[in-house]
């Protein structure tokens, strides 16, 4: 009897100790993550403005969601965001994997080149936006200058919807391709040399080696890079803020741009909360699908 009591005490004190160690982290996590999310959801059921507190908070149930989901312009923003994400993430993955593959080889000056390639990623998106805004200036921007040098006409990059989409994707690709290069190079260099030697002995062509050995073996890392870029591109706001201001019209407004504008320019706090919840649900859904896929991929390789 005494022995059982002693063992129970031991187990219980162990649990308490685990809880004791975890509780600071849990408290911080609850305060920093759970509380904002719950308050966001709570606020989304009210019509109110943080700038006009005297007007009070009017409960509207699902009114904010009904208004937003019935607004055709919101769907246009989702479509634009989807186009932007598809365009820039595909470009970043393709270019990033290509450069990463080249950089895994040993050659003179590789480290210097590698460091130089990382520079765009270290800049703030707002700075990148302003920088590219000047470069895309239709009259005195360097892009149009280069086009005229090779005999092509000037393009009104930021004044037309389709051109503005490509301009934004180019700026984002310039900034974030180094991120893919970084991860791809690390993944490629992590593949044991013996596998390549065996492939060479078996007479495998470079293309065969790349598509049947390099890519599959680095797939989990590349997939993580893809997930991070998809989520990050979906949230893109600051680049558009500086580059196009959302224009022409509202044709280059991403969903995040609309959230920021509704929250901090309009100060429609309830409506902005509802929009942020919609965005959060989409990002969580997207992440869950991709993470599930990643897990399957991990089991396979």
């Amino acid at each position: 009897m005494t022995q059982i009591d002693a063992s129970n005490r031991k187990r219980s004190s162990g649990r308490l100790m685990i809880l004791g160690f975890l509780s600071p982290s849990l408290a911080i996590l609850l305060f920093m993550v759970a509380y904002p999310i719950f308050s966001l959801v709570y606020y989304s059921f009210f019509n109110f403005s943080a700038l006009r507190p005297a007007a009070g908070m009017k409960p509207v149930g699902l009114g904010n969601y009904e208004f937003l989901l019935g607004d055709p312009e919101l769907w246009e923003r989702f479509v634009f965001t989807g186009e932007f994400v598809a365009l820039c993430v595909s470009a970043q993955m393709l270019i990033g994997i290509f450069i990463g593959y080249q950089l895994q080889k040993n050659f003179r000056g590789r480290d210097l080149l590698f460091t130089a390639l990382m520079l765009p990623m270290m800049m703030s998106p707002v700075v990148v936006g302003f920088l590219w805004r000047y470069m895309f200036n239709s009259e005195w921007g360097v892009i149009n200058y280069l086009l005229t040098v090779i005999g092509l006409g000037k393009v009104d990059w930021l004044g037309q919807t389709t051109a503005a989409l490509f301009a934004a994707a180019a700026a984002d690709t310039w900034m974030w391709t180094p991120f893919i290069v970084l991860l791809a190079t690390a993944a490629f260099r992590g593949i044991p040399e013996t596998i390549y030697e065996a492939a060479e002995v078996d007479g495998a062509s470079p293309a065969y080696t790349f598509f049947r050995i390099t890519l599959p073996m680095s797939a989990p890392v590349l997939f993580i890079a893809l997930i991070l870029r998809l989520i990050d591109s979906f949230k893109q706001y600051d680049l558009f803020f500086a580059l196009t201001g959302g224009g022409p019209g509202s044709s280059t407004e991403t969903v995040s741009f609309a959230v920021a504008k509704t929250a901090f320019s309009y100060f429609y706090t309830g409506e902005a909360s509802a929009l942020a919840v919609v965005l959060l649900v989409i990002i969580i859904g997207l992440s869950m699908i991709l993470v599930r896929h990643l897990n399957k991929m991990g089991e396979r390789y």
């Binding site: 004044g159 196009t244 959302g246 320019s265």
Partner: protein, 471 residues
Amino acid sequence: MLKKTLSSAVTSAIAICAALGVSSAARADTTLTFVWHAGTCADALMDIAKDYPDKTVKIVPALVPYGPEWHNKIASEFAIKGDAFDFAMWDSQSTAEFAGGGHAVKINEIFDKSSYLKADIFPPASLSRYGEYPDGSGEYYGLPANQDAYGLMYRKDLFEDPKEKDAFKAKYGYDLAVPQTYQQARDIAEFFTRPDQDLYGWGQMGGREYDFATTASNSFLWSFGGELYNPQTFEVKGYLDSPASVDGVQAYVDMFKFGPPGSGNWGFDEVNAAFQQGQLAMAMQWFYFNGSNADPKVSKFADKTAFGVLPGAVGRDKKFRRQFSVGGQGMGINKYSKKLPELTKFMEWYFQPEQQARYAKVCQTGLKAVLESAEWQGLNSYNRQFSTALAYLNDYWHLPEYPVLLDQLQEEVSNAVSGTKTVQQALSDAAEKHERTLQRAGYDIKRGDSTPEVPDQKISPVGVDEVVVVN
């Protein structure tokens, strides 16, 4: 040895405490922080503030670029009832939003207590424009710290060239001169548009950001007899998209044909840059920038640049109107600031004629004593035109919903500029969105039986039979 160590440790501790005491005494000095957009006028304020006699008070700028982040910085601080800044220069239209939200100090209380700061040291129209809310109430939430107006700048070397004059008269049948109407401005812009010489007739803002496109398009809209809405009934449909409003915005959109390609998304920086490089014969620009555009260190064409008042237009009712956007900012006080006594003393000093005369050398003061002085108009090459321009100012909606209405109008005017929509379609869509915004905010829109073709005839009419020559 131990004693020695102990004694030196105590000495060090005393020295550190003394040093901390000194630094905490230094920190006890008052800092008055202000938010404004960075630029010539904020620099001028800082320069003047350096000479503030009370050296225990330091004026600290918290500057942001012109645009939405400037508004958002002030609004965000108000939303958390914070005191990160003590006073701010905000747009005249924002007074309704900030005062209506209960975040700005009512200046009438300062007028009552101060021996110097009184309403009558400012022109009544200026005080009302930059600080009154609601309109006509006599309640003020801002002082006219930095007046501004949309203006015209042009290349006088081109306008005074005898060959150009002869060629213009031969083509258009009247003398080349600073345009009095947008119809004349169009002819002159067309005349000087010579892409092969990298010269264009007209530069104007059309960008989607903040108020870039609409401050320009509104100037056309009002001059052609249009209106943004009916402030009595809150009707927008039939006013913003009235035939006269469409005429005005169409004239604005058409002027991009005489600007450099791609100028449809320009902001003020691009207009300045193009003008300073000699690419434009005329440009629509704020008086605010004239200081730099007249400075030979900034513009290679400074000595060839002249300033004027923007044209008006002869509307479809054959009446002449000259109306353009008011710019500039009022100085408002953060209600949550704990330094109101120190700030009031600083404002009493800053709004003295001596300080305001210094300010008026580069920017536009709102102090009556300076504006009425004999020297003011001669302080630079554009104050005379500015004093004329003050008579033709008009403004956006003075409603707390201003940021939403502005963004919606910006979006639709930008659609018209880019050609995504016709002007009629863009203005009708903007009117639809505006009414929806007003209805959601609780305004009761009282629909009339009919809407006027030229809304200005119904709302505080300014149309006259003859063209008024001012330049």
